[in-house]
């Protein structure tokens, strides 16, 4: 696996912007294209906005999010760690996309998009009190 780039951002909307810029920097450093990285930008938006809203019981300014990026062969791996309450976003019920949208519960749409964009996605609750979400997608698709 290539060198891991780590960035740490606060659990706030500003932190989310910083995370997106950090991914831009990683992309530039490794000459990745927009076609390569946009799924990861979307994933960051879905996951981080969820953690910011719910992870610390709505109290902004608390908590820390760590994002690790690494190239691995023809894939990019992104790991998101946060020190919020235990929460596995993959537990959220997949929305029934055959239902008219008005009848669908709002939650879960974002994570469903991430699940379908990524080749693999895994959650673990670490003993040191972190949620860890690991996702991979091949580049140049």
């Amino acid at each position: 696996m290539g060198q891991v780039q780590t960035l740490v951002v606060p659990g706030t909307p500003v932190g989310l912007e910083q995370a997106e810029r950090g991914l831009d920097d990683f992309s530039a450093m490794h000459s990745l294209t927009r076609n390569d990285t946009w799924p990861f930008h979307v994933a960051l938006d879905e996951i981080l906005s969820n953690v910011v809203k719910y992870g610390w019981s709505g109290r902004e300014g608390e908590g820390r999010i760590e994002i690790r990026l690494a190239l691995d062969g023809d894939a990019l791996e992104m790991v998101v760690l946060d020190d919020a309450a235990p929460f596995n976003p993959l537990d959220a019920q997949a929305p029934d996309t055959s239902l008219p949208v008005e009848e669908r519960p709002i939650g879960g749409l974002g994570i469903e998009i991430v699940r379908r964009l990524m080749d693999t996605i895994d959650y673990a609750r670490l003993e040191d009190g972190h949620n860890r979400l690991t996702m991979r997608r091949r580049l140049g698709l």
Partner: protein, 115 residues
């Protein structure tokens, strides 16, 4: 994200460029909702310059489409790049909207619907 607006006959054309995500979607919402209340009934949203859209952006577009419907208005999306089209598809949102591949086709669709 940047928003541009122009009028063609009785249709408002809103052009979004950049990234439509949880931070920028409220700006898109303001630009579109600013018109649904003022009798604007025909809106084309041109997405050609959008890098990507997240679920926050999808929700804004859905809400605007519903508001327009309530007043017999119409919303047509056009010129989706593949990244945008794919997110709509994965979210199950393609069947919900009127979508055309070009701005001209979107304008023609609104013209023939006589809204």
């Amino acid at each position: 994200m940047k928003i541009g607006e122009e009028r063609r006959d009785e249709t408002l054309i809103v052009t979004a460029s950049g990234r439509i995500d949880s931070n920028s979607s409220s700006e898109l919402e303001r630009a579109l909702l600013g018109h649904t209340g003022s009798g604007e009934s025909r809106i084309v949203v041109d997405l050609a310059e959008v890098e990507y859209i997240s679920s926050a952006g999808l929700r804004v577009l859905l809400m605007v489409a519903k508001k327009l419907q309530a007043t017999k208005g119409r919303l047509v999306l056009c010129a989706m790049p593949e990244s945008v089209r794919l997110v709509f598809e994965l979210a199950g949102f393609l069947p919900i909207f009127a979508i055309e591949s070009t701005r001209d086709a979107a304008l023609a669709r609104l013209a023939e619907s006589g809204a």
